[in-house]
């Protein structure tokens, strides 16, 4: 009984799919194909490699670069983008001393919401090392109001939260171009938007943040070109996304070394136990 019923049910599913297939093919054949130039896909570009030391099987952080990147974040990005998963104390991991971290927190241009200890009223105070980086806007409405109705995303996880990861962030930051002459009207940037072929819709609400050399002054004498600043801040954002990266890689090699020895020994014991059974 199972087989005739099975065949019947199978024919039911297959007929439903044949009808679906025929209508799909018919629709495809009768619908005029859209000119690919009218879709954003045609104009999008693949991210260019950021070539950071934090990728590959021997990944590590260049702490000097991370500090440069932090500087770019502080002086450029922090005006609009928060970093709500990172605390000031975490900066010690990229080479700042405890005192430096205290100073960075105390001098941070954005204050942290607090309570007046005398009156209990809402107040603002300077951050301390255990605080997270304060958000530049008190709430979403304020963020939208200040940015032409677009919310600047928090950057803590941005590298892991975008396809293409660090390559995408680096490419986006250095990807602002003039609008191509032959770009269709529907794909052209509207008011307050900028053309950037690395962005999914081609038109991004963020104006080019890294406009010219020397926008940020580096302590170590590195020339602050837009490309260098983009690379450095991307490196910094790789760290905010994955602060335990170096632990992971180091532990990984130790674990693989252990497993390799374990597996070789397991293979040898397997062979010796089976030696007489294998025959031939």
């Amino acid at each position: 009984m199972v087989r005739p019923l099975g065949i019947l049910v199978g024919l039911g599913f297959c007929m439903a799919l044949v009808f679906a297939l025929v209508t799909t093919v018919w629709t495809m054949a009768t619908t005029p194909t859209e000119d690919p130039k009218n879709t954003p896909y045609f104009w999008q570009q693949e991210p260019r490699p950021a070539n950071l030391p934090s990728s590959g099987p021997f990944a590590q952080f260049d702490r000097v670069q991370l500090q440069r990147g932090f500087r770019v974040y502080k002086e450029v990005c922090a005006a609009c983008h928060g970093l709500n998963l990172v605390s000031f104390r975490n900066l010690e991991a990229i080479g700042y001393s405890e005192d430096q971290v205290k100073t960075i927190a105390a001098e941070w241009p954005i204050q942290t919401p607090s309570v007046d200890p005398n009156t209990g009223e809402a107040a603002m105070r300077a951050p301390i090392p255990t605080d997270r980086f304060p958000s530049p806007y008190p709430n979403e409405i304020a963020a939208r109001a200040a940015n032409n109705n677009a919310i600047p995303p928090d950057l803590s996880l941005i590298v892991k939260a975008r396809a293409g990861h660090e390559d995408y962030i680096y490419s986006l930051l250095t990807g602002y171009r003039d609008v191509p002459a032959e770009l269709p009207e529907a794909l052209r940037p509207g008011v307050g938007l900028s053309y950037n072929p690395y962005f999914a819709s081609l038109n991004i609400a963020m104006a080019n943040p890294l406009t010219g050399e020397g926008q940020v002054t580096y302590d170590d004498g590195t020339r602050a070109t837009p490309d260098q600043m983009a690379r450095d801040v991307t490196a910094f954002l790789v760290w905010t996304s994955e602060p335990k990266l170096e632990n992971r890689i180091k532990t990984g090699w130790a674990v693989l070394g252990f497993l390799l020895i374990f597996t070789i020994l397991a293979y040898m014991s397997y062979r010796s136990i089976w030696a007489e059974k294998k025959g031939r």
Binding site: V2, R3, G6, I7, V9, G10, L11, F13, C14, M15, A16, L17, V18, F19, A20, L21, T23, T24, V25, M28, P57, L85, N90, P153, S156, L157, K160, A161, R162, A163, H165, A200, S241, P243, K244, N247, R248, I249, T251, G252, W253, V255, L256, L259, L260, F262, T263, A266, Y267, S269, Y270, I273, W274, K277, G279, R280
Partner: protein, 430 residues
């Protein structure tokens, strides 16, 4: 249980003797995975994957219990509690990446385990119960994995929950109330997150229970083998320990090398970037895709686009998606061929390698792609083959197939004809 020549447990000292008379747990283990379980001597490496699946479940349970100590199932803090694990809990990043990728590797080994069963006919008599319990385990795994993916409360968590619970709303009349009852609301929210967490903690232990039944049912007839023919004498078998424990030890090493390479060097390879964005009910991701191990079933769901027989296409898709797994319950009775192993079934073998496997691969790719352009008809053709394979081809194939000659015994298949001592010379039928 299985064979008369199975070694009997002998307590090695007074304490074990005392124990054996009161709670014969060591005797049970000895008979289940020790020297007391005779196993065909010709198993290939595909037989490692059952033990590996059990090991993967243990990794999930152990890492999961520790993660649950630091996770908070509340929509306001769930996302940040996962990031707290990643940043501030000692070795939290390791636990979390082990658990996240452990789910993927659990599915990899279980899929290989299932396809091994399909190829060598392990679902056939007398192992039908083993197969049925295996399908139950697979369904429980899918439910557990889905609910686990919701817990970090990222964008894909939320929208995946939205899509999957939306399946219930395709059921006529009761669908929408049923969905609201299951979710505890109109959209996935705190009530849903809490019950998903509760069930995600419960189901792995249910899986462990069904695994015990799965192994129990296996030990009645004993393990199948690559020839698919029955064990005939003691020389066809070896004791599980030390022969297969040593082989499984080696298999485990290779598995762990592959697993740890991903955990430590590409931990987010199998995940989706959008799940690092906190859930936002007001912003729909461009493409909602499930985890990779659900992609073939997702492709089947999407393949039904026509209201055939005036039944809504969405309902067709949901029925077909559940049906694509439910049909596995009937497989032992859909396939009438007396030969188990595809090694001796020329037609079945061809349909397996050139039909079923490419079809599943295509469904997996189509599942990940947006429902547009050529992906749609391609997915429909592959889905059509999937149902035809299990419900039409397999039931009919045994009428046309001429099986290849089987070896006389398992020992003969290992040692060759000349060296095989003549034993119990009954002709080999599967």
């Amino acid at each position: 249980m299985s064979f008369p020549w199975a070694k009997e447990y002998q307590p090695q000292n007074g304490f074990m003797q005392w124990m054996d008379e009161r709670l014969p747990l060591p005797r049970l283990v000895y008979g289940a995975i020790g020297a007391g379980y005779p196993v065909p001597r010709n198993l290939n490496y595909f037989w490692n994957f059952g033990v590996l699946a059990g090991f993967a479940l243990m990794i999930q349970i152990i890492t999961g219990i520790v993660l649950a100590m630091n996770y908070a199932a509340n929509t306001a803090v769930a996302f940040n509690s996962v990031e707290y694990i990643m940043r501030d809990v000692n070795a939290g990043w390791l636990l979390r990446y082990l658990h996240m990728n452990g789910a993927s590797f659990f599915f990899i080994v279980v899929y290989i385990h299932i396809f091994r069963g399909l190829y060598y006919g392990s679902y056939k008599a007398p192992r039908e119960m083993v197969w049925l319990l295996g399908v139950v385990i697979f369904l429980l795994m899918m439910a557990t994995a889905f609910m686990g993916y919701v817990l970090p409360w990222g964008q894909m968590s939320f929208w995946g929950a939205q899509v999957i619970t939306g399946f219930f709303s395709a059921i006529p009349l009761v669908g929408e109330p049923l969905r609201e009852w299951l979710l505890g609301g109109f959209v996935p929210d705190n009530a849903a997150l809490n019950r998903f967490f509760s069930l995600h903690y419960l189901l792995p232990f249910v899986i462990a229970g069904v695994i015990i039944l799965h192994i129990w049912a296996l030990h009645i007839p004993g393990s199948n083998n690559p020839t698919g023919i029955d064990v005939k004498s003691e020389q066809d078998t070896v004791p599980f320990h030390p022969y297969y424990t040593s082989k499984d030890g080696f298999g485990l090493g290779v598995f762990l090398i592959a697993f740890c390479s991903v955990v430590f060097f590409a931990p987010n390879m199998l995940g989706h970037p959008d799940n690092y964005i906190p859930a936002n009910p007001l912003s729909t991701p461009a493409h909602i895709v499930p985890e990779w191990y659900f992609l073939p079933f997702y492709a089947i769901l999407k393949a039904f686009t026509y209201n055939f027989l005036w039944i809504d296409a969405k309902l067709w898709g949901v029925i077909a998606m559940f049906g694509s797994i439910a049909l596995l319950f009937f497989l032992p009775w859909l396939d009438k061929s007396p030969i188990r192993s595809a090694s001796y079934r020329p037609l079945y073998r061809k349909f397996f390698w050139f039909g079923l496997l490419p079809c599943i691969a295509v469904l997996g790719v189509v599942g990940a792609m947006p429902a547009e352009g050529l992906w749609v008809p391609l997915g429909q053709v592959a889905a059509l083959y999937y149902f035809a394979h299990f419900l039409i081809i397999i039931p009919m194939i045994s009428y046309f197939e001429k099986p290849e000659p089987l070896p006389m015994s398992i020992t003969e298949s290992v040692l060759g004809k000349a060296e095989t001592p003549a034993v119990g010379a009954t002709p080999a039928t599967a």
